[in-house]
Symmetry: C2
Subunit: 331 residues, 2 copies
Amino acid sequence: MIIDVHGHYTTAPPALQEFRDAQLAGGCATLAPVSDDQLRESVEGNQLRILRERGGDLMVFSPKASGMEHHVPDAATADAWARASNDLVHRVSELFPEHFAPVAQLPQTPEGNLAGVVAELRRTVGELGFVGANLNPDPSGTWAGKPMTDESWFPVYEVLEELDVPAMVHVSTACNPNFHTLGAHYLNADTSVFVQLLQSDLFQRFPGLRFVIPHGGGAVPYHWGRYRGLAMRNGWQDPAELLSNVFFDTCVYHQPGVDLLLDVLPADNVLFASEMLGAVRGADPDTGVAWDDTLTYVRAAGLPEEALGKVLTDNALRVYPRLAARIGVRA
Amino acid sequence: MIIDVHGHYTTAPPALQEFRDAQLAGGCATLAPVSDDQLRESVEGNQLRILRERGGDLMVFSPKASGMEHHVPDAATADAWARASNDLVHRVSELFPEHFAPVAQLPQTPEGNLAGVVAELRRTVGELGFVGANLNPDPSGTWAGKPMTDESWFPVYEVLEELDVPAMVHVSTACNPNFHTLGAHYLNADTSVFVQLLQSDLFQRFPGLRFVIPHGGGAVPYHWGRYRGLAMRNGWQDPAELLSNVFFDTCVYHQPGVDLLLDVLPADNVLFASEMLGAVRGADPDTGVAWDDTLTYVRAAGLPEEALGKVLTDNALRVYPRLAARIGVRA
């Protein structure tokens, strides 16, 4: 079974965006009825078709990342937006339980909204069977908040640990014109959070906390020697010491990048993912391979069979134990 | 001749920092006399010794990057700080003309200080024989300014083009606790500026403008497929179209990273550099190779001889024509 741990519901029926637009316009937003057929249609020709065509089986599926828009300050708005988005993802996962496992959007705001975040975590994971959550290290969209190692984040970590679900560290839309959301902000966030973690003892305090850093870890594997050297010079822990709690996905859209990722990091710490349909669509005209067909790159990287099995399947089941339980129940 | 295009004067005599401290304390700052012997000593056991031990010949040498501190808002302070820093770099380059070629710190401020920047460019390049400048894409240290493709930057580009010198795109100290200066801010800046350029027609307007993106281009080569795909999807130019004007250094501190850089980018666009003595000091305990001994990695990457010559020598002379002229005169 091949598990893709990073997919977003970028093809949700228009009613969802209409709900959001009504919210932001200040009106009384109500999600118009969305039928099961509409939900089926929205993924059958898209994520589900492509997943299966490429040989994948199951996608860990969350609301559209750039649409989370945690910079909108009102907590009630954030709560309702996360609920509406998560409910649709949940319904997709109920319609196709063998192919989609839901991951939650959290109603973060620049001020935190911790009560809302904890409530939505408990609702989605505890009641609806979600297997993880996306946690935005920069809810302001301008990096106005505190690093993820600050104690203001700890109430969220306590619940993640208690529920035994990982968080994917994933920003939303950038609110600074210097940072293109998909080209720079996403990767910068991945890199920045890794360095925050490297300087802290967060995982000594929360040994059960697990973070998945997407987009191949931003710049981190490419600069792994820099981080080892910085750690030695500054008396930080060695980057390898983070690897009990920090994992990287394979959303790197060319062969040399995936080769480096799998060369530098242990096979235990890399989880297959494509972020399909996400930032990059279409195919490389030189090879005919779709940019985000990371399964092709991972297969071509020449891993030994056992390591390949970890990257494609086993690591996901270990990092997302509720995913394993969910499949066990469904199987 | 092996040319290292990225070294900073991180070992300047204490008088320079004392001058800076006096400036920031609001007093009347005067640089205490620094003797030629002090200057010789400051590099003979450091950059110069290591450069030669490793087999290098000439270092393109600029004031300490994290010390530029362009976030300090007063233009007169910035002017005096750049002058003092550049004058010491200039004196080192006059004492060891075969081994150091000077590159300027510019007196940027969050508000721009374009008059000061242009004046210092003309003084250092036009009068003192500097071969380039470091240009900070984020003088505020908080990314409060405009992207480098905004027309507010154009007066600087006009002078760079007129003087025929490249700019290394190099931030200084981060003023946001989310971004570790050496671990995140430097790399984020490299990545972000590349994406700014990818979306613009800047080099059609300034065909003679040349940027060197340091630290191996941040995350860019690792995510080269992402940029090709984003460009196709968004109707931007292909990343390859930037390569007449954009160059990358080799400050990537492990073998797999340098291998990827040289695999992904054409040999014409990679310039040997170490940033020694910079962010990372000491050696990898597993190999005994100094983290920043990038010459070892570049030599081990297995480039054909002609490509290796470009990376180690020829590209630097082409991208920095005043360096070529300077060596011609000195030779």
